[in-house]
Assembly symmetry: D2
């Protein structure tokens, strides 16, 4: 099979993460042709040139349209700020490229709808970068649920917390502007939703409370400016099957760096997981003698595929970046027409729909059904 | 000072806990006269007799009114099921006794109001058994907050979980009957509320979602019966100062045995605590070099009074029952006219008010202000 | 049955702990006559008087011989510094009293031998205060081992660490004098030995390395004095059945407050425990599917007797002082002629023998057999 | 700069790990020329061919001598079983290649000496694959020690445990043959030694106790065979500066999968680390008010270089394989003549010397000085 040609738009955090994943996917999995890193785009053409060298791309450009026009490019990785996703993704799809776009889809729901429509019309693979669902242990949660290990699930809780907005003395920047979105809700909310909807099914109704920990933030000229976004979101929800859910999101939670703490409660047991300890899973089942029951800490191991593709020994641990390598493999599976563990634009649209419904429920002070 | 005479109504879990506390408070604290354990009442007179011997009471009765009529009784501990609290507490107060009553006050708000009114009218001390606020580490959280260790608090989360209703195959019993109350909401909700309102101030508005993990439960005759109470409650709330809160309660959470997990987020740090590890406190502050910041695990120690009254060495650990000994000391302080760290009937009424508001918010699907 | 009369020598940390235990044992267990707190002795007669009032003793004295001569005293609790144990314990036994003496027995092995001989000759109960073996979870480890839950044990590790000698700038005091003993070895070593010999059988040979973290310590006159004891001890040992052991002891381990961390490895599983989290037990067994194996955290619960005597609900937690209440119950069992879970003077002598053998192995740089 | 040509001998666990590291080092670090994956050798020529394709090597061979003779190869990665290391490494060095060889050096000390001599004579870079020292948090421990964060170190403990030999019913295989070495001592011991000697300085004297958890193991023909190696090793040691050390090693520790637990005690604080939670560091310092002191859990972050080369966000986590990428960068640094954080053959020889001294101390039952 001719190797796929990769185009990458964006060279920041996620840009590098995509590049590393495309670079590693073939030797890690050993069963796919190594993709060619063809074209790298960044609005800053000089940066694009330097990063193409560093990351191993053949060509670079300051204009992402060049990349999409490049016939050697088969798949476009889009890792720019969210506001650019719709135009780029739609253009790429319309040009017949497969698309792997970072989440969320777009600040405005109508744009997300347009992206999903373009994906459908194109017949191309359009995948969103929800990497947390690729963690072998998160996948294993899915397997345990499917097997009925904890019986019928009746409730779920998720917390997602970081602290990059926790300091009230940090200068006002664009994440506090309304134009950036709602705040923690769309910045973070899509991640927990990607996990729980993958594991448990779609969201049916929501009720959110958005909060501003700090009414104003200082500006460079020693004045202050009113904060327009909500760094905190607390959400009640019901999932398919009337599963009761509670989601808490904060980007002002001092000390939390990458916390995504999930608790899933079933009729026969409980599963708990925290992304800050991404190589551990907590499982309680009511099996055996009561005096020895307890949450067991399961360490990631080769029997949680595809951990085995990375390391043949248990308990040695995967890293965040390696989730993206797994995701790249799934993108390739989808392109190859195989069943793939992905969130495509159609499923992603449902996540966005839930996020906007949450914002409306906050505004109106009542439950909103999807 | 003449020792106080103690009357105890009820000989179950909390009855014994009160008896042990009254028995230990003098030697532990060393600064109060040892109370006389005068009278023990239980509806089962034989049991009352046996338990009086076991627990060290001078007299016993099958009729609690005897106990309240006993002039040797100065303080009445009430540890019966909640439905009996109003009649007993009001009778005791009207008889001029001090009252130490287990929580919550009463299933019906009007009864709780009557209890608070009786307490006010009597001029006697009327304390509710909210023992978790007595944990030296929970008190230390209060001190840290007062000192501004984590700056201005902007959000809080509490989870309270046990698993005694987690098994769908367990037989239907009175806790699933509507007459017992709302379910987890009043069964558990008062505990987190006792802690967060003591630490952070009163509740201002609430929005709850109550859920039934199991629609029916089996009965002894191999049929099944519809469950009338809600074993799960998820709550959004705002506290005084517009602190955003999220509370989750479940008595169907497999594997959780006594979890009361609190996270308090401030402008300068975060505090976390879990009653299942009641001798540990987690504190994150943004002090020092970033590369060494982290949550620190603080072990209970003599510098968290009144831990020192129990053990002069740090890290050796207190137990749940010892919280009740501390509480007994506070009851004695209140009776002695000293400032006491207690939740009296007036404060307790506000907790009940919040619980009922939560139930209303669930029923109506909208926020309810207090 | 006529209640036993208690005499208590010493009013410090352990003195109070014994007093609280004697005070609580009857109501907690509900099946024994309440002991009479008869006589309290402290070298400081005024302190003895005050503490007798605070702790609830009928009489006090500045001369412990008065207490031993008191016919109302049936059992003598000895909680003075170790050097006084032999004379007091032997006098009490010779006077026909039962003895409950804090550990270790004595600084000199010959004295410990004399104590054991006196106990044997007297026919009285002579128990050492090894309270850690009374923890319901430590007892449960014993049950698990007896049941073969982890198969045949082949190795064990114990660490015991505190930090009260960790500060090199703290003034020299008697614990650094050779007259106080070897240092961490006898100060701490007896605790781990009490646990592992109770659980696994006697020590057969030992090899120790004692170390001084600080060669000198400052004195009050701003000079310094050479340290004569070893605050650190690392020990290799073999237990009965050729179980390989490693013990590490430190009283200079910053941050450790009451750590006694045990790991027991068997042919079918592993058990781990840490006294700093005394209400948790870690158990790994190779049962079930490998992908769900893991250490399970078992919370102390009523099904770990005698936890049930304190609290009927699981996961609520016992405290350090409550171990002493359990121990008091065992002392009463022994006095009543029932099988008791205790370390008597005969067993205690074997622990002391092991400690001295460790010191000799360090001195000689070779293994010493017992 | 002309890219370096890489030859890799071995295609197992570590072979793949080296291949992935060579593949990723350039895009991760962005400051080195991408190495050419030139030649792959495996005794099984067919496997070599398949793996060359999978891992991205240009050529393959069934004879490692071809690879060493290949002028396009500049650096040889050696990942075969230990017994092959000497011949291959010496041949590669004699052929003027740089060598990156997995640890330990060789089963026999004389061979390790020959390897070190060949490295010295060659003037080439010869690095051992001690990847654990590359963990950004382990490096950060080094920085903290250098800065005096915990004062003067006086003691250290290390445990290294896995459970691949824990099952007594597993069939006898070569790891139980004396020809494979001492057992856990050389199989595992080199890892803890690599870490503590890098952080704290050389080993000065040792005293070991080696143990066999199972005297025999079953064979395929339903008989049993005597075990010749020691799956457990407990070691006392003293490091430079008379630091007291205790090391425990077990490959029969059920439930442990990749545990390397280190505790370093100093005059001002304590550092603890466990490879099973490789993205966390525990630090206790005696700073600040005693009532808030505690071990703090530091999450790996960009301020622990070179974590920042992988992920710009804190707390997201690196994986085991990524340590090898860091190591590859250090190998390149060494080749480029820059200061590199490596264990070269000279330093590695000292580790082997300590291991053999431990075996001798066990045999003779006495301390052995190095």
């Amino acid at each position: 099979m001719k190797p796929l040609g990769i185009g990458l738009i964006g060279t920041g955090y996620m840009g590098k993460c995509h590049a590393l994943a495309w670079n590693a996917v073939a030797p890690v999995f050993g069963d796919v042709a190594r993709p060619r890193l063809v074209h790298l785009a960044d609005a800053n053409a000089d940066l694009a040139t330097r990063q193409a060298t560093a990351l191993g791309f053949e060509k670079s450009t300051g204009d992402w349209r060049d990349l999409i026009a490049d016939p050697a490019v088969d798949v476009v990785s889009i890792t720019t700020p969210n506001a650019f996703h719709p135009e780029m993704a739609i253009a790429a799809l319309n040009a017949g490229k497969h698309v792997w776009c970072e989440k969320p889809m777009a600040p405005h729901f109508a744009d997300a709808e347009a992206m999903a429509a373009a994906a459908k019309a194109s017949g191309r693979v359009a995948v969103l970068g929800y990497n947390y669902i690729q963690n072998p242990l998160v996948r294993h949660i899915g397997k345990l649920l499917d097997e009925g290990s904890i019986g019928t699930v009746h409730s779920v809780r998720v917390e997602m917390d970081e602290d990059f907005m926790a300091d009230p003395e940090a200068l006002f920047y664009w994440k506090s502007e309304a134009s950036s979105g709602y705040g923690a809700l769309d910045d973070f909310g899509v991640h927990p939703l990607s996990i729980i909807t993958t594991l448990l099914g779609p969201v049916e109704r929501v009720m959110a409370d958005l909060a501003k920990p700090f009414a104003t933030r200082p500006t460079a000229d020693r004045k202050s400016r009113e904060v327009e976004t909500f760094d905190i979101a607390n959400i009640l929800l019901r999932l398919s099957g009337d599963i009761a859910g509670a989601v808490q999101l904060s980007r002002s939670a001092w000390g939390r760096k990458g916390r995504i703490a999930i608790q899933i409660f079933g009729s026969h047991g409980t599963i708990a997981y925290d992304q800050e300890r991404m190589n551990e899973l907590q499982l309680f089942t009511r099996e055996g003698r009561a005096s020895e029951q307890g949450f067991r800490t399961i360490l990631a191991a080769p029997n949680h595929p595809p951990y085995d593709k990375f390391i043949p020994a248990p308990g040695h641990g995967l890293g965040f970046n390696e989730l993206k390598i797994i995701e790249a493999r799934e993108v390739l599976r989808a392109i190859g027409g195989e069943p793939a563990h992905i969130i495509d634009f159609a499923k992603g649209l449902e996540i966005e729909r839930a996020v906007h419904a949450m914002a409306h429920s906050h505004r109106d002070g009542r439950w909103v059904s999807l």
